[in-house]
């Protein structure tokens, strides 16, 4: 007989094992879905997960796609670790892109080494400003940060719409909703000729290193962890809760803003209505799949990035509907949450004796 027993303590091994289990289960379930849809499951999975990154170009596209996801997820992990539910990274990304894009347009057709750093900084500040709204409302007016940050996503997209349709639209562009192309000095340099991977990847790697240091080597990281486990304990310990809430939101907003900068000054090179395919929301999956651990987030961002690339390849070569990519992202999160059950419970085999 098998009995389900509560664990005395959440298992640390299981904690890092369940994401792998979730990915495995996603592959199995995905194969099954392909089979039901009438595709050869192994061939489909090959086109989904192997073919897209089989060459140098594909691999660079994977890194290009994973960069914003990783950057945003690192930022979100500051919030999530400390019990602050920032759901609005997409809005912070958009607002960061707006501010940095605005600065880039100011330097239209100008050259200079100082332009790019200003453009990048502007994006980080834009993201921070936008993230400070839910943070301040939460600390001083006790509002729900989930709602506020989420609603602000739609506000940011409307602001972007307004700007690219109206005042910032390209004067030579027949009123189509897009700005001018940024000058080369305002664009992130490419790392290799012919590949799209750009210097933005270093921003993501720097965020990984810094977050690891803060989480595990500083007093702030400890405070965040305690607040995450129990807000009351944090209060009794005398931590300044308000200051920390604002700080984690600012960090998270800066990261999302930088991800926006990476898109518009990297592969896109201008502002238009669609600068992000919902990176800010997908990064929430990445953060949890990576267990809010910097190294875990690197791997998770690569796994999630490949679901985007794989969906395109599978449609081109096998005519599998492209929206299966989103199904895969959903399944990963579902199986992860489901297998978290194992963190707190275990199966115990009990003999049939009395």
């Amino acid at each position: 007989m098998i009995k389900i027993v509560k664990r005395d303590q959440p298992s640390r091994a299981i904690f890092f094992f369940t994401p792998v289990l979730a990915i495995f289960l996603t592959l199995v379930a995905g194969g099954l879905i392909f089979f039901i849809l009438g595709f050869k499951p192994f061939e489909a999975l090959k086109f989904f997960f192997i073919v897209p990154i089989a060459d140098k170009y594909g691999f660079s596209e994977l890194l290009l796609k994973a960069t914003p996801l990783c950057l945003i997820a690192i930022g979100l992990s500051f919030c999530f670790k400390s019990n602050n539910w920032n759901i609005g990274a997409e809005g912070q990304l958009t607002f960061g892109a707006i501010v940095s894009g605005g600065v880039a347009l100011l330097f239209y057709e100008q050259e200079g080494f100082y332009i790019l750093p200003i453009v990048i900084l502007a994006g980080a500040i834009g993201g921070m400003l936008y993230a400070s709204i839910p943070a301040i409302l939460k600390t001083y007016f006790n509002t729900n940060e989930i709602l506020v940050s989420l609603m602000l996503v739609y506000v940011s997209k409307l602001i972007l719409d307004y700007l690219v349709v109206g005042p910032w639209s390209n004067p030579e562009g027949f009123n189509f909703p897009e700005t001018r192309q940024f000058s080369d000095s305002a664009k992130l340099p490419l790392l290799f000729e012919g590949l799209r991977i750009h210097a933005g990847i270093f921003l993501a790697l720097a965020a990984v290193v810094i977050s690891w240091f803060v989480f595990y080597k500083t007093y702030l990281g400890f405070q965040m962890k305690v607040s995450g486990f129990s807000l009351k304990t944090a209060k009794y310990a005398g931590y300044k809760g308000k200051k920390m809430i604002i700080l984690v939101f600012l960090i998270s907003g800066a990261c999302a803003g930088l991800a926006g900068v990476g898109e518009i000054t990297g592969p896109i090179g201008q502002l238009h209505r669609e600068i992000s395919p919902d990176y800010g929301f997908t990064a929430i999956i990445v953060a949890f799949l990576g267990r809010l651990h910097p190294v875990g987030i690197i791997f998770a961002s690569l796994v999630v990035a490949i679901t985007y690339l794989g969906a395109e390849t599978a449609q081109i070569f096998m005519q599998i509907p492209k929206y299966t990519g989103q199904v895969f992202q959903g399944m990963i999160l579902f199986f992860l949450l489901a297998s978290d059950y194992l963190l707190f419970f275990k199966f115990k085999f009990i003999g049939s004796k009395k």
Partner: protein
């Protein structure tokens, strides 16, 4: 000796080249990049109908749906160009810069961009339809059928394509009914059933009893059906979604153009061009006319359709005045394509201002 060697070398090269060309011409592969799902019953759906016509003509096709206009578009295009496709149709305005960028890297692949204006490389063509001709028909019907003399119009974005449609529609409606007013609501979306339905509702509340649309979902005709007012289908025949409300639809018929261009690649006759086809070339098609319309209106519309096709009637024939009463097109003249392409002012009779 030397000369003979060169000559035979050259002739074998030529032979090799012709063989390769012949081999390519046999199986031309076409690819289509879509902004939405193929089941949207609007813009993307109609492009996919066109793709199926290419398949029916005996060519292999590939499509990728739901490709965002973000950094992802460029990757999809490069992958299609890299995987043996000879001609790639990019069917949304936002693909303009990625299309030109990738075209530069693949000079042997032909690119066809819908609704754009950039042809930076010899292997990029652009194409669009003269939808405003269809809107001349809709305006004629709306002006005749309205009782409140208020006509609603749900618009997407303030770009020349949409302004041109509003103007063409209003001019035609005024011709049959000088008292009409066209009220515009800007939805700032091409496809958002919720927003579109709200916009239609706002117009109906303001007294509009005929609703036209320049957005792609079926939400507007369905809202019109509920409210008991008339409407027109957009992009595809939307009659089945609102049989009482829909008087007719303007259909986007890309098939003939697509087949033509893919065949041109196969024959080696493809060349760069900027295509702007209307009713005459069959790119714009008017669906069946609803029996609720009086018989004389129906025959009038049929005649107008034939005259637009033959070029006897032009949607923008002077005298045309703008909202302030300034002359835009003189009597007896018609607006040229340059003026149409950059049209950013309302004609007299349209209410409100163009959002800036």
């Amino acid at each position: 000796m030397h000369k003979i060697f060169i000559r035979s070398f050259v002739s074998s090269l030529v032979l090799l080249f012709t063989l390769t060309v012949a081999a390519i011409a046999k199986d031309v592969k076409a690819a289509f990049v879509y902004i939405g799902p193929t089941g949207d019953h609007g813009w993307t759906y109609q492009h996919d109908v066109g793709r199926k016509a290419v398949e029916a003509a005996g060519f292999k096709t590939t499509y990728v749906e739901g490709v965002p206009e973000s950094a992802d578009a460029e990757r999809v295009l490069r992958q299609l160009a890299n995987s043996g496709h000879d001609i790639i149709f990019t069917t949304s305005f936002g693909y303009m810069n990625p299309t030109n960028k990738v075209a530069k890297e693949f000079p042997n692949v032909k690119f066809e961009h819908a609704t754009g204006y950039k042809r930076e490389h010899a292997n990029v063509s652009t194409y669009a339809a003269r939808f405003y001709e269809g809107r001349t028909i809709l305006g004629t019907i709306a002006g005749t059928m309205t009782k409140s003399n208020v006509i609603g119009y749900v618009a997407s974005f303030p770009i020349p394509e949409v302004i041109r449609g509003i103007n063409s529609f209003t001019l035609a409606a005024q011709k049959v009914n000088p008292n009409i007013k066209t009220k515009i609501v800007w939805a700032f979306t091409w496809y958002d059933p919720g927003k579109e339905a709200e916009a239609a509702k706002a117009l109906i509340d303001q007294g509009a009893d005929v609703i036209a649309q320049h957005t792609d979902s079926t939400a507007i005709v369905q809202m019109a059906e509920k409210a008991g007012v008339y409407a027109f289908g957009q992009a595809s025949d939307m009659d089945k979604f609102a049989p009482k409300a829909v008087l007719t639809s303007v259909e986007n018929n890309w098939g003939p153009y697509y087949v033509d261009r893919v065949k041109a690649v196969a024959n080696g006759t493809w060349n760069q061009k900027d295509t702007w086809h209307g009713i005459g070339d069959g790119m714009v098609v008017i669906s069946d006319l609803d029996s609720q319309m009086p018989a004389d209106l129906r025959s009038k519309v049929k005649k107008l359709q034939a005259d637009l096709a033959s070029g006897k009637v032009h949607s923008f024939t002077g005298p045309i005045y703008d909202q302030k009463g300034n002359l835009m097109v003189a009597e007896g003249k018609t607006a040229d394509d340059g003026m149409l392409a950059g049209m950013m002012t309302y004609v007299k009779g349209v209410e409100g201002d163009i959002p800036k």
